[in-house]
């Protein structure tokens, strides 16, 4: 999967399915914060699951909490990190 549009759709599905969110994937905004006020309402345990799922499904290795904070801000920041980590894809 190399197309950013496909990756974005997959990330939204992954958020809903892995974290058992009670919304449809299409309802998640590309730049909607995942954590904090006005966000999807994720917490640290969700982040843990997300890190594992991103590694398993997209080969994105998030090795430290600081990197996680930067990458897991929104769907767009996640897609950017995936595309950047696979420049040849």
């Amino acid at each position: 999967m190399s197309n950013p549009v496909e990756i974005k759709a997959h990330i939204k599905r992954m958020l809903v399915e892995n974290l058992m969110l009670q919304i449809n994937p299409e309802e998640i905004g590309d730049d909607q914060p995942l954590f904090g006020p006005g966000s999807l309402g994720l917490d640290s345990v969700d982040a843990l699951q997300l890190v594992v799922a991103l590694d398993k499904n997209h080969g994105l290795k998030i090795t430290d909490p600081e990197a996680a904070r930067g990458i897991l801000q929104t769907v767009n920041t996640i897609v950017h990190a995936i595309v950047s980590s696979n420049p040849d894809s």
């Binding site: 345990v45 843990l48 699951q49 594992v52 799922a53 590694d55 398993k56």
Partner: protein
């Protein structure tokens, strides 16, 4: 088929083998991986007696790369890992003033660091499958902290705290983490004890007998079963009533 994949460390010893046998007896669908390090002859015998359901794997619990390699091999074979029993342990008793730093480091490395590395290695698989069981074999020494065991008691006390903290981290994902604190068991530790020391130990036990490895194994199997899904962060002592 409802196959369960179980990894047991320290599986060449009495307790490790008893735990393995408990899982093998429980269901034909259970597949048990026996983690061994310096010695493997008894684990090999058990695996040979249970072809296709029991396999031996080299695993130095103190080395993260050894864990990664073992978990990779198990995941490649089954695409899942349901139960980790952190059973590998060692002790090297001495009063603290006479304890060599190497002894402190070795006992902490095997008994505590090993569990950290093990949990870290298996959790991605368990998180992905939204479930798993981790059972850490601590010791009554974690609770009694006897003289002459500062290294062992500190390590096992750490195991109890690690268990309780990790249990909270992964509870919502369906992963349970529990610890068992055995007292005196008829294992390698007791076999190497002289008669006078055995009598002193027996005198401390209200049941006036040593425990059998099988009596701990049954608790491990229970904590791994589906019905124990709500039990996490627990510390179960199995000691004939000492504490």
């Amino acid at each position: 088929m409802n196959q369960h994949i179980i990894l047991i460390t320290g599986a060449n010893g009495y307790l490790g083998r008893a735990i393995a046998r408990a899982f093998l007896d429980e269901s034909q669908d259970n597949v048990v991986w026996l983690g061994v390090h310096r010695r493997r002859e008894h684990a090999d015998e058990l695996a040979a007696a249970n072809p296709n359901r029991c396999r031996v794997i080299l695993l130095d619990v103190t080395r993260p790369e050894s864990w990664q390699s073992a978990v990779k091999e198990i995941s490649a074979a089954h695409q899942r890992l349901d139960v980790l029993v952190n059973n590998a342990g060692t002790h090297d008793d001495a009063f603290l003033v006479q304890m060599k730093p190497e002894s402190w480091r070795e006992v902490l490395a095997v008994n505590l660091d090993g569990i950290f590395h093990g949990c870290r290695a298996v959790l991605p698989a368990m998180i992905s499958q939204h479930g798993g069981r981790i059972i850490n074999i601590a010791s009554l020494s974690a609770l009694l902290a006897p003289a002459g065991q500062t290294n062992y008691a500190a390590a096992k006390g750490g195991v109890v705290s690690l268990t309780q903290s990790l249990a909270k981290e992964v509870a919502r994902i369906g992963i349970t983490v529990n610890a068992i604190c055995p007292g005196y068991l008829e294992t390698e530790m007791l076999v190497n004890m002289d008669d006078a020391a055995r009598q002193r130990a027996l005198a401390q036990i209200p049941m006036r007998r040593f425990g059998k490895p099988e009596e701990v194994a049954v608790a491990v199997r229970f904590l791994a079963c589906a019905g124990a899904a709500y039990i996490t962060g627990s510390v179960l002592k199995i000691d004939g009533g000492i504490f």
